[in-house]
Symmetry: C2
Subunit: 245 residues, 2 copies
């Protein structure tokens, strides 16, 4: 993988929400990074770790985990290729949540030092980083709303709609995308038991809305699924007018 392409997905996604000049984009392209591979269920950022780098998913799937002492586990974010998982560690380096590969995953580590340098040189980049973190928080906020719903079908449907759209942003078919994770992980992400995830996916499938098989999600009726999940993509802030630099 050449130095100039690994970060391309991430840079393109930043450009969806932030206007950056040629120079600014070039400075992102030339950021130094290390490529690392992790098997499924391996932490790549530990709990309580004082981080010195931020991680960008190049391939695979990553999750942010949290758990209570009594065993309730939650995935509070799922990151697909092109996502920076912990850009927020730039202002808050002490990790409060572990980051884990949900499948075999390739990440690029970029040092905080390098990120700070480029943010210092180009304020628009600092703004873009800030914006990216705020949008991540908006996604989390929607997850919190979603978790409060009583109907498991709608919870999962909403999750699938969101992932579909986020995959679409990186050039995938939104109605047929990879999701190489276990039902237990889906449960952690939706606040359900793996058993109920299983039943719920079957129900969604029986209604002809979507299928999950072999680590892929196939959406069979996007329009109906959107209505069913009450999915409104505004929170992803994709169509917002670009704010002043």
């Amino acid at each position: 993988m050449s130095d100039t392409t690994a970060l391309e997905l991430w840079i393109n996604r930043l450009l969806l929400r932030s206007a950056l000049s040629e120079d600014e984009v070039e400075s992102l392209r030339t950021l130094p990074f290390n490529i690392e591979n992790y098997d499924a269920n391996r932490d790549f950022v530990g709990l309580g770790e004082m981080t010195t780098h931020s991680c960008i998913v190049i391939n695979g799937l990553a999750g942010r985990f949290d758990q209570t002492r009594d065993g309730t586990r939650a995935i509070t974010a799922i990151h697909i290729p092109g996502d920076a998982c912990d850009l927020h560690s730039l202002p808050v380096p002490l990790s409060a949540n572990p980051l884990q590969a949900l499948a075999r995953t390739t990440i690029a580590r970029v040092s905080h030092e390098a990120l700070r340098d480029v943010a210092k040189q180009y304020p628009a980049i600092a703004q873009a980083f800030f914006r990216d973190c705020v949008v991540d928080a908006a996604i989390l906020s929607k997850w919190a709303l979603n978790a409060g719903r009583t109907e498991a079908r709608q919870r999962l449907a909403h999750l699938f709609c969101e992932l579909a759209l986020r995959y679409a942003l990186i050039g995938q078919n939104k109605c047929d995308f990879p999701l190489p994770i276990t039902q237990a992980h889906l449960g952690d992400a939706s606040g359900l038991t793996s058993i109920h995830v299983n039943r719920t996916i079957r129900a969604l499938s029986d209604e002809g809305l979507m299928r999950v098989s072999q680590g892929r999600v196939v959406i069979e009726d996007w329009d109906r699924l959107v209505v069913y999940a009450d999915f409104n993509p505004a929170y992803l802030h994709l169509a917002d007018p670009k704010p002043p630099r």
Copy 2:
């Protein structure tokens, strides 16, 4: 209320997590703002609004709302005096969630322009704003975990622990603080019905952990409540070493 004191709580709270110089603090103190009062249940930032200001709670209590079409409502953040409710509107001005007064509430509105100016002049302030938003996201993340718990008692206990500590930061007694909101609002914030909130509060009270009465929370056994809620304040990032400026 004099110009130099209304923002003091907020500035002090920023200083808990960010080291700022005298000049920097002074520039925050002299930010121009407008004071506004809202009755309970009044929106002060509307859904879909293109904001030009950020709001700081001076007095009272504010909530960020979200809801699904089928009627599930959620409060995704509760803001006490000293909190900036929507500093994140600086990089993402289009509001995806309304902000509402939960009780009679005084807010200070500060223009994005003024905030951007001061952030541009002092990069450490820009960093402090960024950090504040990231900590807000960390709180939200903990709410998402909390919502996934099966036991209502622990959910509410956790919420009360968090609010207690946040009130302590602004000089209130953490075991006796105001919470002038309805049980319906508490339900929206914890993913429960108001009826179940009522029963759950009674249960917590019966166990001698805490009481709620007349718009106040009185915690009777902090240590036991913390254990009960499995509350670990690390996510508030209060004891973190200060990162490089």
